[in-house]
Structure formats: C-alpha cells, structure tokens
Subunit: 284 residues, 2 copies
C-alpha cells in the first residue's frame, strides 16, 4: 500500500490503489439511523469519500442474538474492506456494543464505534460524581453497554439509563418537529429534569434528530451528547493523527443496503435531507 | 387429567384422555399482543381451559421472512397439538396472514386466524361500496393481507390501509389512557375522519387496548372492528357448532413463552390486568 509522503510517478498511477488519504471511509448501521453519523461526517469532512452500508434486510439488530450481530457485522466489515476503506465507523449502538472487538480483530484499518466517543464526551461534560442519563432503545439499555463503559472509566459518575421505545418510530414517521414529539419527550424525560442531570447521551443513532426537542425538555443545565456528532469528531481526529485526511474539495458519497433501496433513499431524503442518488443493493 | 365437575374413579384416572369438550383451546402469538384475544376468550368462555403461547424469543414476526413465520408457526402448533387442544387460535396477524394454510394442513383440530373474522365483521358494518379503513403495523399493511381478504369477498367495499407504527410501543409503555395516546391517534387518523369510514379494523392484536381512543378520534359514524373480540366470538361459534363447548364453571389458564417469562407476566398484568401466575418457558 502507498503512503502519502511518496508521490507516485505517472507510470505508477495505473493499476494502483488510490492513495491512502483518498480511500473512502466506511460507515455501517443496521438500517438508516447511522445516517446521522454519515451526515455529521459529510459536514465535518466535505472532502472525504464516504461509503454507507445499511443492513435493512436484517434490521433491527437489538433483538438479535450477540452471535448473529457479530456475524452480520463481520460480514459487512469484510465487504467494506474490499472497497479499500481507510477507516471503519460502526454507526450502530448494538454492533458497537457487541461486535467491535471481533471486527477489529479482522480489520486492516482503524475501527471506531459510537459508544466510546459518547461516553468520553459525557464524562467531559459531567463533573466528578455528576449525573449522566443514557437514553436508547430497549435493547441498548438492556445491554448496559453505556453503563459498563462509563463504569470502566472510574469517573464516579452516577449513571441512569432510560429506554425510550417511541423515539425511533417517531423519527421514522418524520414527526420530530410536531408538538407530539415534545409531548413524548416530556413523558420520558420530564421526571429527570429535577434530578440535576449533567449530561444526557443520545444513545441511539436516530435520536440526534430529536436533539432540540430533548434539549428543550431537559433545560440548559444538561449537556446533550449527540453520539453521531462526537463519533464524527472522533473519526476526524483519528484520520488527522494518521495523516489520512483527504484534502479534496468535495468527496463522493455511496449508499448500499441489503434490502428495499427505494424506501431507504426516500427516508434518507425525508428525514435527513440526504440526497442519496441511486442506492445499490448487496445481499448476504 | 382431572375434571372439576366429575370426579373420576381411581381406576379411570390412568391412561384416559380428557373428553373432547374438556380439552383446552390453544392460542398463540409472536408475543403478548394475542393476550387481547385470550382476554376476550376468557370473558366469553369462562369454562374453557386456555393455553397461551407467546413466542417472545422471536418477536416480532412482521420483519421475518414468510418461510421463517411458517416454520415458527408450525413448530408452535405442533407443540400445542401435543397438549391435546381442541381448537387452535392463531392470534397473530402476521402468522394468520402467512402461515394459516400450512398450520391447517398439519392440524388434527380446527384452526382459526384473526384476519377472516375481522374482515367478516367489517363487511357486515360497511354497506355495499362502503369504506373500510384497516389499521395495523407496517408489516401487516405491507403484506396487504386484509386488502386481499376484503377484495376476495367481492363486496365492492373501498379499502384504505394505514400503518400506525407508534401504536404498539404506546401500548407496551402502558400509555393508552394518557392524553398522548389520543394525540398519536389523531395524528394517524384525523385525516380519515372526513372520508366517511364505515368500519375501521384494528388489524393488530395490540390495538384493542387503544379502541376507545381510536373510536374517539373517528366519531360515532365509524364502527370499530376489534379483531380480538370477533376472533373470540368466532371461536365460540366454532366450538358450539361442533358440540365442543366446555360446560365447566371455571376453566384453567396456562401461559408459556419462549423467552423472558417474568417480563411477559409483568406486562400481562400491567397492560391487560391478566394475572398469569407462573409462566412456563419452552425454547425451540
């Protein structure tokens, strides 16, 4: 593989892998939630080539066995490695929690999840012994992935976890700006308003779309940790540290799903304003 | 097995099958939604022995392949046949739509689903050429199971289908009586209020818990077809026609799930006021 520091002679350019910095970033999720990470990456790193894979045939991962989630994640990771990615972002909470180690073992490139960056940002926002509220799907909360990661940091933070199962369908209906969204958020979160929460982690890649609504319920005291945003910042830092940032002005975006490409494309446009163009299908 | 009404002589007890009428009714669903059918059966037929199976390890069925739903349904049906049931009620819309024929082929006893009774009741409520609104999960609506069954009746009814993905998590949160439930129902259904809907089918076994709220939004013009209720009425008629009604005063209830029995028991109590007692586990 070529390194950036050694410019290629013209004759060498043919039949050669693209320069490392020009290689794409691979991102995957069980469905379309990870597009919030894609969107932050696109915003932060306009020059990067991005490949997004959504495993829409097998969504959701939260209800699958850990063995299945590991097998699916490895399969997708290998598919993306073949596309010569320079970094892999696992933009799915369930896969980040269950499959990161297995994917890393196989990987020729750095692999990032969404949990560690969220935990790190929350710990920065909460003073020692402060309170952190983790929101997520029932499956994420049941897995205690965030609690365990927060506990491992020995910060003394008090962690509360709250499953918010209506948030995902609310986002997928495109109702984030309706008064109903605020009513649902109040139902889940108002009881925590008085408990002096320093940081609230949006522990599901759909939730950043409800960030304003959630911030409105929690009030200014609580820092809302947008795991999509912090994961994208983490990816940028990782690439910068390795000299792998792409200096191009405008990168390509490619979308691949395992089922129902039109539905994916239409939801990406409607919910996130992402114009996917043609979405490819790769079945496993 | 002992019968409450007629004590057996000791010599009779051994190797004797219960009389046909005393055999239980088997009911199954992918999870706990089918408990609405169980509850109606218990109310209508207090003397019957009921066995409920919830496939909580593999819920939801709506996102599975038809082959998987058929395989799961046959597996559960055989498990219930071994319990010497006299009637099988498939209290799951997805399984009713995809697996009824396969289960019937294997079955030594009559098998009922939830779709046909709902369709029949809706057609009775709608005049020729009237309007029927079918509500259900995204998977049920996508399957077009109700549309197809309604079209097959050649009634000339105009059928509209509407997926209401927030209803199931709303029910499972136990929020049916909150103003939020009415707000969600309005969001989905208010646009249909002006369209002179004669009958609205609650095409998901969770939805009967939102019946009042939905009726409130639709107004008195629209007959709400509670598929749990009509399925139970259908089961009663079927048993009566075969002389299989159990004349006992009070029947037994038995609950079996494939995963997480405590969670099932607690939700059954909280959402439906059903005291399950100990819930058994059968893993496939």
């Amino acid at each position: 593989m070529r390194r950036k520091t050694e410019p290629l002679k013209k004759a060498e350019v043919r039949n050669v892998c693209p320069r490392p910095a020009q290689r794409p970033i691979g991102i995957f999720d069980s469905g379309l939630g990870g597009l919030t990470v894609f969107k932050e990456l696109r915003r932060l790193l306009p020059g990067e080539n991005l490949i997004y894979f959504g495993d829409t045939a097998r969504v959701p991962y939260g209800t699958k066995s850990p063995e299945a989630v590991v097998a699916f994640s490895r399969e997708i990771a290998h598919f993306l490695f073949e596309k010569k990615i320079k970094l892999l972002v696992v933009a799915c909470n369930t896969a980040s929690s269950l499959a990161l180690a297995a994917v890393r073992r196989d990987s020729p490139v750095p692999v990032m999840g969404v949990i560690a960056p969220g935990v790190e940002a929350a710990l920065k926002a909460a003073p020692r012994g402060g309170r952190i509220l983790v929101t997520g799907t029932a499956a994420t909360v049941k897995s205690r992935a965030y609690s365990k990661a927060l506990a491992a940091a020995h910060s003394g933070a008090r962690v509360i976890e709250k499953a918010c199962p209506l948030f995902v369908p609310l986002v997928e209906e495109g109702w984030c700006a309706k008064p109903l969204a605020a009513a649902v958020a109040r139902e889940y979160l108002a009881p925590f308003r008085k408990r002096k929460i320093d940081a609230l982690i949006l522990g599901c890649t759909h939730y950043p779309l409800l960030k304003k609504v959630i911030a409105g319920v929690m009030g200014p005291r609580t820092r809302i940790v947008d795991s999509a945003r912090v994961a994208a910042l983490g990816a940028k830092a990782e690439l910068a540290a390795r000299g792998l940032l792409n200096p191009a002005r405008r990168g390509r975006s490619e979308f691949i799903v395992s089922d129902a490409p039109e539905k994916f494309s239409s939801l990406a446009g409607r919910l996130l304003g992402i114009k996917t163009g043609k979405v490819a299908v790769k079945r496993f």
